[in-house]
Symmetry: C2
Subunit: 350 residues, 2 copies
DNA sequence: ATTAGCACTTAGAGGTTAAGAGTGCTAACA
DNA sequence: TGTTAGCACTCTTAACCTCTAAGTGCTAAT
């Protein structure tokens, strides 16, 4: 279910060490203050002494799960510790009925058109987690086309409307020869409609004009439409959504302007957000990436939790939350899972 | 040409005072450091002594144009000073040919559809000024409708496409009775098309169904379309664009997290941005609002410079730059004016 | 294996000082 | 009367010191 960049970190820790590590991460996520042996005994482990815990902490540090800012400070979890926490230690959170009702309300209110749904998704995620959220709708080739329509709004320009199994696309344009009559255009619409119906984007983009013999003289229109579709598949810029960028400032690790700058420069750049969300693996449901390991776009000391939503095997989109490594993973994973369920049910019914 | 919230501030300042005030604002905008009498003599006024300038500065402070942070600091311009600066003192800036070419290039590259133009406008403004930019496209009632089309993409849902003299609107939806045939729908399209053609949004929204007798039985569709149009006129949320939010961090006055927070909470809220940009006066070309006087949405110590672009008397949109009071007004005004010229020429040709 | 006790380390808060920048004022000057 | 040199005064800022509180590591006893 949960994977980290492909590889699972194998661990051999005593149950007590795991428990202690869990408490350290829990507490650190909650308080943002390095966790001391004393606070652990007081809050969670009254039966053992702080000295014992100190030994364990020391061992966990040796193993690379904890670090100290200086010799006399408490311990802070390392990136490794967070990974282990999310995959094994963390107790799964449940959303309150209030929160669930909120999600349902928002989605049922405005499920009319896809733009609204996309925006709402990002908004809901950001609201509930109190982290900035990012999202893209996928333009994957597996979606089947149901219908296609041209709307000529200027003598030489037409809007291409495409209905697929999940959505209505209305941002593609083609040039139309000025001398073409409206009748000819609507005939070409029919010809291409028949050709495209039931086929996926991928299949259509790979059609060889020379192999098809039923163009009825509308080959130039066909070529233009294919061009439009190809460029639609290439650029997904317009489908990038970000919400709640300002929420990052509420977290104490962003007390430093240069960090905020760094962070915002990623989140406000559609290109970078897109890169972040598109290189996801295939069938991964929830995915946790931590800034330290090789993701250029994620600022160091940042963490990205994403969920990919599918309907009938087609990737519909990827949404996620980006924030400090010290992130409330319990909440974030719970929100993403629940939003995912509702989103998938809405989109599958279309 | 330049107005401040309606009223001009009348001033009686000696030429020398004006010159000195101009230098103070110039220098403060450039350096962000309180301006001292010594630096003024050295940089601009070698012929008079610093003591003389001190007297003048003292007088300007008395008049409310300058303030001191503490007894032994240099002077900082007041909001009044900035207003005077923009309206009278400031030397108008010219953009370099490089910058002008950049603007032209961006707009000519992708002038296909309005969404692109809107985004590009905000982007160009933000890039060239290095402040965050905000923009809305106006939904004013004076625009004439040229054509209307329905596209039924689900049995009970249709997309309403509207061509106006300036743009193509494609974000309105109506419900269609399931039992209505496609032929009936396209007939209703023709009927309504004839009714709407040449009329403005305003006129159409005020049409009384009972006064028209040529509905040919499509009154329910008519009512739905009117509803869609009205709600389109009401909510302009989706047309709000912001770009370069992160640029605010480059300015030293935003060294304080709480200020950034305050600022971002405005700029990331579409509602607030819309409010900011819609209460503009009627025929104002370039407009400067300074946070201190009664604009709730503008954070104190912020300044908003906007330009409203029109074509044939119709307000097409308002774009602007939001930043610290200590803003490079010369650059900002120059950029807004130039972008405006190009934008208006593009949109008028449509 | 656990734990009490203690020495050791470090960050951070508070206080003091000295330097530097800038003003306001006064008295002299053109 | 407007300008200017000179000087006392004010205020900020950085540097330095000191002290405290928090937390650890280690040792020796249980």
């Amino acid at each position: 279910m949960l994977t980290f960049n492909g590889w699972e970190c194998q661990v051999e820790l005593s149950d007590r060490k795991k428990k202690i590590l869990q408490y350290v991460v829990d507490d650190y996520i909650e308080t943002a203050v390095p966790v001391s042996s004393k606070s652990l005994t007081e809050r969670h482990l009254q039966t053992i002494s702080s000295a014992t815990i100190r030994n364990e902490l020391s061992a966990l540090e040796e193993l690379g799960y904890l670090t100290q800012l200086h010799t006399s400070s408490g311990r802070v979890p390392s990136a490794e510790a967070y990974k282990l926490y999310v995959s094994e230690l963390m107790v799964k959170d449940k959303l309150s009925t209030k929160e669930l009702d909120y999600i349902k309300k928002i989605f049922l209110e405005k499920a009319d058109n896809l733009e609204e749904v996309i925006k709402n998704t990002a908004k809901v995620i950001s609201e509930l987690t109190s982290y900035p959220s990012v999202g893209i709708t996928s333009r994957n080739g597996g979606e089947k086309i149901e219908n296609i329509k041209f709307f000529r709004y200027r003598p030489d320009q037409a809007l291409v409307l495409i209905v697929t199994e999940y959505r209505l696309l209305k941002d593609n344009y083609i040039t139309v020869p000025k001398e073409m009559t409206d009748e000819q255009l609507s005939e070409s619409e029919k010809v291409l409609g028949n050709m495209f119906k039931g086929r996926t984007f991928e299949e259509i983009c790979n059609l060889k004009p020379e192999l098809e013999d039923d163009f009825m003289g509308y080959k130039n229109i066909f070529v233009n439409v294919i061009e439009a579709l190809k460029s639609y598949m290439r650029y997904a810029d317009s489908d990038v959504v970000t919400e709640g960028e300002d929420k990052i400032l509420e977290h104490p690790e962003y007390a430093d302007i240069s960090k905020i700058k760094n962070f915002l420069s990623v989140v406000t750049s559609k290109d970078k957000v897109m890169n972040l969300l598109t290189d996801d693996g295939k069938d991964i449901k929830i995915n946790v990436k931590i800034g330290t390991d090789g993701y250029d776009e994620i600022p160091k000391d940042c963490s990205l939790v994403t969920a990919t939503y599918t309907a009938n095997g087609n990737k519909l989109g990827t949404y996620g939350v980006i924030g400090p490594i010290r992130m409330d993973y319990q909440k974030v994973v719970a929100v993403l899972e629940n939003v995912g369920k509702i989103l998938e049910s809405i989109l599958s019914n279309k």
